[in-house]
């Protein structure tokens, strides 16, 4: 069986799993495990398929499943190397998120689980579908399907007005973006001869437009760029992200961070590297993309520093990290016509950064979820010293934080290191890129600051939990395991960057624009011990041997430690020194842990509130992320309830389902599938409309 | 700014090195310095004037028997005001320039003087109080309670 078919089966398993989960969602304790079994099965299949495509270094396809010749669209699962690479990541996140959810979702006692597991699996089915499409129409179908599923996950806490508002913003912004993409697709379709939605046809059409109607092409590229960067969370289009991610359950947010945002990059790569011929368009759009990237880096990351909510910090960091990817892509596009080798390296850096992000971003959301589960808190000002209680979470959070901040020897360092090299050294023709590189380097320190705040507030300092709660220990195994796996991937990719880079090289070279790219050895050296860049001819321009560096660091630290024990100094535990004053017993140290949907109220106040960190710096950049003070117009109730599908769709359905259940006893109404039906009906309408219009 | 920094540096360099390698090269205090008190037991007549005027009351006078008067100088409480030397009619109490009085053993700071008083009873007139206010002290205005009576 060919890998594309395997992926198809994997997707089918997910859909079946969604149905099964919906049917069994009454049994709260079993549905998680059941979903996990389905998810794991799908994940294994998809992973093996992706791996085999990469190993074979050859695209595969299922053949046409649905053909719509009158509009020139066909549903085909086509997996090339880039898709395969993304499939690997998706399958990993799929398995780990499902596993993590088993324990984590118990936090939401008041929520019906039929609103979680089925949607999560359908979401993943949509994500897999998006990367496997080679046809813009079905790409859009899956894209929209994924968006709808994710919307319902965002508003999972349907009683919480904050979630609802975030969901509303999300769905409006992303649908606006999708509409732009639709326009672009249809415009290309119309210029294709014959009219076709397939990637190949689009490529040809774009090539012709580049010559014939450059202005139109620029407009189309802008539409695509806006659509994809909205999803990726690039500022200013990604403004929905800081609201929507914290609103979603941490496990769902991890799934979004590991897959959905990356698909924005996937789309940009497809458009700008596969459809767009190497030309002046690349140069111009390279600069545009890099500017948006560096803007996101700067604004997103610095805004993250000012956040006190653990998940909002992460959400803003998502924006910043996506900025790095865009900066790399922009640099690559800019260099593509002149220095294809360095451009190739830039694209590899971008994809590597995406993959790294798919490791540490979900991990950080898992960490935040673990904190939320054990303390009921997202406010960092009200957390302290949890290392003693959640040691494993703390260590994985440390790994993830240092990775996202790009500290050696973790994976984030390698991709950032590549980005600095290509921006500082690779693009001297346009000096602004050097500044971009330096901004990127500076902002990676800001990222570090934000995560030191996260670590310092949540895990370090005096333990906040009372003894009886501290005794419970770390989070359940099902939540520990995903964190450990992702942390290991962060360390592994950091130490052996050649492993992912080999795959990335294959994925990137498969894109149309880079068919004549140099070999991997020519770019980053041939040694598995590390990377050696030679951007200009023979001379080495950059070197990083992670294993050697790590061995040196460990040896040196051990040496230092040994030295410190020379005096055989006695160790003694003491109380924190407050200038000789007694401050204990003044503040209650107890925390009310109530796994409720709303943040629990705590009586604890940490000694030093995280809010106080980096005061002067924050003041200097106070107005960088202007929060537009919109007049607080209460959303018209009807509009609100129109968007809150729960009110007019889900609840009646549920009631009807219950009524049916009672009526026909033993048979259960698969309620959430109603969404699917609704969605499919909607798509059918769109398709019919297009077909009519196209005729 | 640079000019003021240069001026500051000039002030510093003009002074040269002024501190002494102190414990290795001791420094003599000025004349008239109030250092440690010493008592010449030969000269002491046991009038107790020093004890009467001592503000920290570190001189204890006791009469174990009618013939003998004991003066204990507990110098760890001395404030170096030199009033004792000022009132001593016989110049038995003198102030030296010794200032390195730190010690691990409090006995180093104690002086024990015994004076035979076979012919002289305490009369309160052996020394002249410097002012009437001091005389008030001598003539028994000490409160009957409290530990100060021993002094």
């Amino acid at each position: 069986m060919n890998p594309a078919q395997v992926v198809l089966i994997g997707s089918a398993i997910l859909v079946v799993g969604a149905a099964a989960a919906a049917l069994s969602s009454r049994w709260r304790s079993a549905v998680g495990a059941l979903s996990f079994v389905f998810a794991l099965a799908a994940s294994v299949l998809v992973f093996s398929a992706g791996l085999s495509v990469l190993l074979a270094n050859r695209a595969v396809t299922t053949g046409t499943l649905v053909d719509l010749p009158m509009v020139g669209a066909s549903l085909t699962f086509r997996i090339d190397q880039l898709s395969a690479l993304f499939l690997l990541v998706i399958s990993l996140v799929l398995a780990l998120t499902s596993l993590y959810s088993i324990s984590y979702i118990t936090r939401y006692r008041d929520q019906h689980l039929s609103r979680y597991y089925p949607l999560l699996m359908l979401f993943f089915a949509g994500v897999i579908g998006v990367v496997c499409m080679a046809d813009w129409l079905f790409f859009l179908v899956f894209w929209e399907f994924m968006t709808i599923c994710s919307y319902f996950l965002v508003v999972f806490e349907k009683e919480n007005p904050v979630s609802l508002r975030a969901g509303l913003k999300y769905i409006i912004v992303t649908h606006a973006a999708t509409a732009l993409m639709l326009i672009a697709i249809i415009a290309v379709w119309q210029n294709a001869q014959p009219h076709s939605f397939s990637f190949a046809a689009a490529k040809q059409a774009v090539g012709e437009l580049a010559v014939a109607k450059p202005a139109l092409l620029h407009a189309l590229l802008a539409l695509w760029f806006i659509a994809f960067s909205t999803k990726a969370g690039v500022l200013p289009f990604g403004d929905w992200l800081p609201d929507a991610y914290p609103a979603a359950p941490s496990s769902a947010a991890a799934a979004f961070a590991g897959t959905m945002t990356n698909l924005g990059v996937y789309g940009i790569l497809r458009v700008f590297l596969e459809l767009l011929p190497v030309s002046g368009f690349s140069t111009a759009w390279g600069i545009v993309i890099a500017v948006f990237g560096v803007g996101s880096i700067f604004v997103g990351t610095i805004t993250a520093l000012a956040q006190d909510d653990s998940k909002r910090i992460l959400a803003f960091q998502m924006i910043g990290q996506m900025g790095y990817v865009l900066l790399a892509i922009g640099t690559g596009l800019y260099l593509l016509p002149v220095q294809p080798a360095i451009a190739m390296l830039a694209f590899m850096a971008a994809v590597f950064h995406v993959i790294n992000g798919a490791c540490y971003k979900p991990l950080l959301f898992f960490n935040a979820g673990s904190l939320l589960l054990r303390t009921g808190q997202r406010n960092l000002n009200r957390m302290s010293g949890l290392w003693a209680v959640l040691p494993l979470t703390a260590i994985t959070a440390l790994v993830a934080s240092l990775s996202i901040a790009g500290m050696p020897p973790f994976n984030g360092f390698v991709s950032k290191w590549l980005i600095y090299h290509v921006t500082i050294l690779g693009a001297p023709q346009l000096p602004i890129f050097v500044l971009f590189g330096i901004v990127a380097l500076f902002v990676s320190l800001v990222t570090l600051a934000a995560f030191l705040k996260f670590l310092g507030a949540a895990f370090l300092g005096e333990n906040m939990l009372p003894e009886e709660q501290a005794k419970v220990g770390d989070v359940p195994l099902a939540m520990q395991l995903p964190q450990v796996v992702l942390a290991c991937v962060c360390v592994g990719f950091g130490l052996l960057p050649m492993l992912p880079l080999t795959g990335i090289h294959r994925a990137v070279s498969a894109l149309g624009a880079l068919e004549s790219a140099p070999s991997l050895a020519g770019l980053v050296g041939s040694s598995w011990a590390g990377l050696e860049l030679s951007l200009f001819g023979e001379q080495s321009t950059g070197i990083w041997l992670p294993v050697a560096g790590m061995v040196a660091l460990v040896l040196a630290s051990l040496l230092a430690y040994g030295f410190s024990r020379l005096g055989a100094a006695k160790r003694r535990s003491v109380a924190v020194w407050h200038c000789g004053a007694l401050v204990d017993g003044e503040r209650a140290r107890y925390l009310v842990v109530e796994p409720k949907t709303e943040p629990a109220t705590a009586e604890f106040e940490s000694r030093y509130q995280a809010h106080g960190l980096y005061g002067a710096f924050k003041e200097a950049f106070q107005s960088i992320y202007p929060t537009v003070k919109l007049p607080r117009v209460p959303y018209p109730r009807t509009l609100m309830s129109a968007f809150d599908a729960d009110n007019w769709l889900f609840q009646p359905m549920l009631r009807a389902g219950d009524w049916l259940t009672q009526r026909f006893s033993r048979t259960h109404s698969g309620v959430p599938q109603q969404y699917l039906i609704w969605q499919l009906v909607g798509l059918a309408v769109v398709l019919v409309a297009i077909a009519l219009w196209a005729r | 700014m640079i000019i003021s920094k240069l001026k500051e540096a000039l002030i510093c360099f003009k002074a040269g090195r002024v501190t002494l390698p102190y414990p290795f090269a001791p420094h003599d205090p000025e004349d008239g310095f109030h250092g440690r008190v010493v008592v010449d037991a030969e000269k002491c007549v046991g009038c107790g004037g020093c004890a009467e005027v001592c503000p920290p009351r570190c001189i204890e006078v006791s009469d174990p028997d009618p013939d003998r008067r004991v003066l204990d100088f507990l110098l760890e409480r001395c404030t170096y005001c030199a009033r004792c030397a000022e009132v001593c009619p016989e110049e038995a109490v003198t102030v030296t320039k010794e200032y390195e009085t730190a010690t691990n053993d409090l006995n180093d700071m104690h002086m024990h003087i015994e004076v035979f008083m076979s012919t002289c009873r305490r009369c309160g007139r052996c020394y002249e109080p410097p002012t009437p206010l001091d005389r008030l002290m001598v003539t028994g205005f000490r409160p009957p309670t409290g530990k100060s009576e021993e002094a």
Partner: protein, 566 residues
């Protein structure tokens, strides 16, 4: 306005509320008023006549008239008048209306009155303990006469758990504790900063960790002529100020006049002390800002002066020269040239330093506009010394109530309008030069003659009183003395300048950053122990083990007992 006019005006306003008037010395008047009218009189003095509140002295007079006297001491600076408002409250459950709501500067004085004398001040916004320890039992008030010096009531429940009712931290702030032990606080005091990041939102103060009960000692243990030596130890830097102030107040109460030469010598020593104190402060201020070169160089310049003092008095510091009726050591004429040459050298070097510092933009960046004490606040809280003068308050005891030789050789009052830390620096730098000028003039004018009064009466009458202010480098020190029957005062009230200035601290550090707190605190040259008049606690345990707070407390108290047992 003379005292007579003032009293007439008050009588007109308050009629029978004014019970009696005493004016033993001209321009020093004590008026007894009824307890009901004390707030109104105080308010009238403060608002209508521009009187400045100095201090409140509570006196346990139960043996004479079954009551507690509460004396609010005011100063009318322009008219050079001390005006004391006395009210007597019955000894049964004593309470008096607080004047603090009308006269904000009285806040600490009235809290102290509650603590030490048990006279409840009604209407205080902040009536928490000021002086007594947290675990001190209720109802025991050490300054009452039935408590003997050295009596120690059983403290708390022995767990050491007693805590102070600190202000609650404002929402969203963290608490940063400054002190009791903090590098730039040479003495223990505790300041709790409620900060948002580095910005100070609010603060709370707790001091008096070192209370030495010197006032109690003065009215129950010491004799008149012993007190100068103890008074000198109220402060390590401005000791001579306190002994002079005590001696002048006592001389006034006892009707003794010190000879002119003695008063010139006092003034000379006071000015020398001001110079070396300002030099010391400048060094410390540099150190607080991390500018240790300033510390080293100003202290180097200061050193010859210390040697000079050693030559004059026999001691480097804590000269022990003052005694009631004059001074103990004369200054030989042979020393005059040396004194002149030392101060001239200082003047020259100080002028250079002043010049250099004025152009130092980095130094000014840390001082200008920091620690603002607006004029109105300074006036309301009665800030004194360079702290007040830096906020344009021309308060200087040398000009307001001349003592020692300042009536003959006046001193110039230096003020600065900027109200910030830099203003206080400038005031001190210029005052140093002014003191040098005074010494030069004073030496020229110094008369010959005896240094000790000879016409001292054989008996000392009880119930007389005297009050004196002396301008210390930090501000004015006040001593108020009521004579008693047994060769010691009935009440001896001391107020060190820091007591007044510290009350202005919260408004000075509000909205500053943590980094600016030490220098702002330092800018008032705080002297906590002077404020506290403390009992020395020695910890004599030789063991190397570490003590818990409670163990330390127990041992310290045991050690105090042991010392006292001597």
């Amino acid at each position: 306005m003379t005292t007579a006019e003032l009293v007439r005006a008050l009588r007109h306003d308050f009629g029978a509320a004014i019970q009696s008037v005493e004016e033993p010395v001209s321009d020093k008047v004590r008026v007894a008023v009824t307890p009901e009218s004390v707030v109104a009189v105080a308010k009238s003095l403060y608002r209508d006549y521009g009187a400045r509140f100095l201090i409140t002295a509570g006196i346990d007079s139960r043996k004479d008239r079954d009551g507690f006297d509460v004396d609010h001491i005011f100063s009318l600076d322009k008219e050079q008048i001390f005006f004391i408002v006395r009210t007597t409250v019955p000894s049964d459950g004593p309470h008096v209306a607080a004047i603090t709501p009308e006269v904000p500067a009285a806040a600490w004085a009235e809290r102290e009155l509650q603590d030490l004398l048990g006279v409840k001040a009604d209407g205080l916004l902040d009536g928490r303990r000021l002086i007594l320890p947290d675990d001190w039992p209720e109802g025991v008030h050490p300054l009452r006469k039935d408590i003997k010096y050295g009596d120690w009531p059983p403290l708390g429940d022995g767990t050491g758990e007693a805590t102070y009712p600190w202000k609650p931290a404002p929402e969203g702030t963290s608490t940063v504790v400054v002190g009791p032990f903090f590098p730039v606080l040479e003495e223990p005091t505790q300041l709790r900063l409620y900060v948002d990041g580095e910005r100070v939102i609010d603060c709370d103060y707790r001091g008096f960790y070192n209370h030495r009960a010197i006032e109690k000692m003065g009215d129950s243990e010491l004799t008149y002529n012993e007190i100068p030596f103890v008074a000198e130890r109220i402060c390590g830097i401005c000791g001579f100020i306190h002994s002079s102030c005590y001696c002048e107040a006592a001389e006034e109460a006892l009707g003794i006049t010190a000879p002119r030469r003695a008063r010139y010598i006092r003034s000379l020593m006071l000015e020398l002390e001001r110079i070396h104190s300002h030099m010391l402060w400048t060094g410390i201020a540099g150190h607080i800002l991390g500018f240790d070169t300033v510390l080293m160089q100003t202290w180097r310049m200061r050193e010859p002066l210390m040697w000079l003092c050693e030559k004059i008095s026999g001691n480097r510091k804590t000269y022990g020269m003052n005694i009631i009726g004059g001074v103990r050591r004369d200054i030989s004429r042979d020393l005059y040239p040396e004194i002149l040459s030392v101060v001239e050298k200082i003047e020259q070097e100080w002028a250079q330093l002043y010049d250099a510092v004025q152009g130092d933009t980095i130094l000014k960046a840390r001082l200008v506009g920091v620690g603002m004490l607006p004029e109105e606040t300074a006036k309301a809280l009665a800030a004194v010394g360079p702290t007040g003068r830096g906020s344009n308050q021309a308060i200087d005891a040398r000009a307001d109530h001349p003592y020692a030789a300042y009536d003959e050789v006046p001193a110039k009052v230096i003020t600065h309008p900027d109200c910030d830390n830099w203003a206080r620096v400038v005031v001190r730098l210029e005052e140093t030069l002014e003191s040098v000028r005074w010494i030069r003039e004073g030496l020229k004018e110094m008369p010959d003659g005896p240094v000790m009064a000879t016409d001292i009466a054989e008996t000392v009458p009880a119930g007389h009183w005297g009050v004196c202010t002396v301008e210390a480098p930090r501000g004015e020190a006040i001593h108020y003395l009521v004579t008693g029957g047994d060769n010691r005062p009935d009440r001896w009230r001391v107020r060190a300048p820091t007591y007044a200035n510290l009350q202005a601290l919260p408004s000075m550090i509000k909205d500053e950053t943590i980094a600016d707190v030490p220098i702002t605190l330092g800018s008032m040259d705080p002297c906590f122990s002077c404020t506290e008049r403390v009992e020395v606690v020695n910890m004599r345990s030789g063991e190397a083990e570490t003590l818990t707070h409670q163990e330390l407390l127990t041992r310290s108290r045991a050690a105090t007992e042991r010392l006292r047992g001597r």
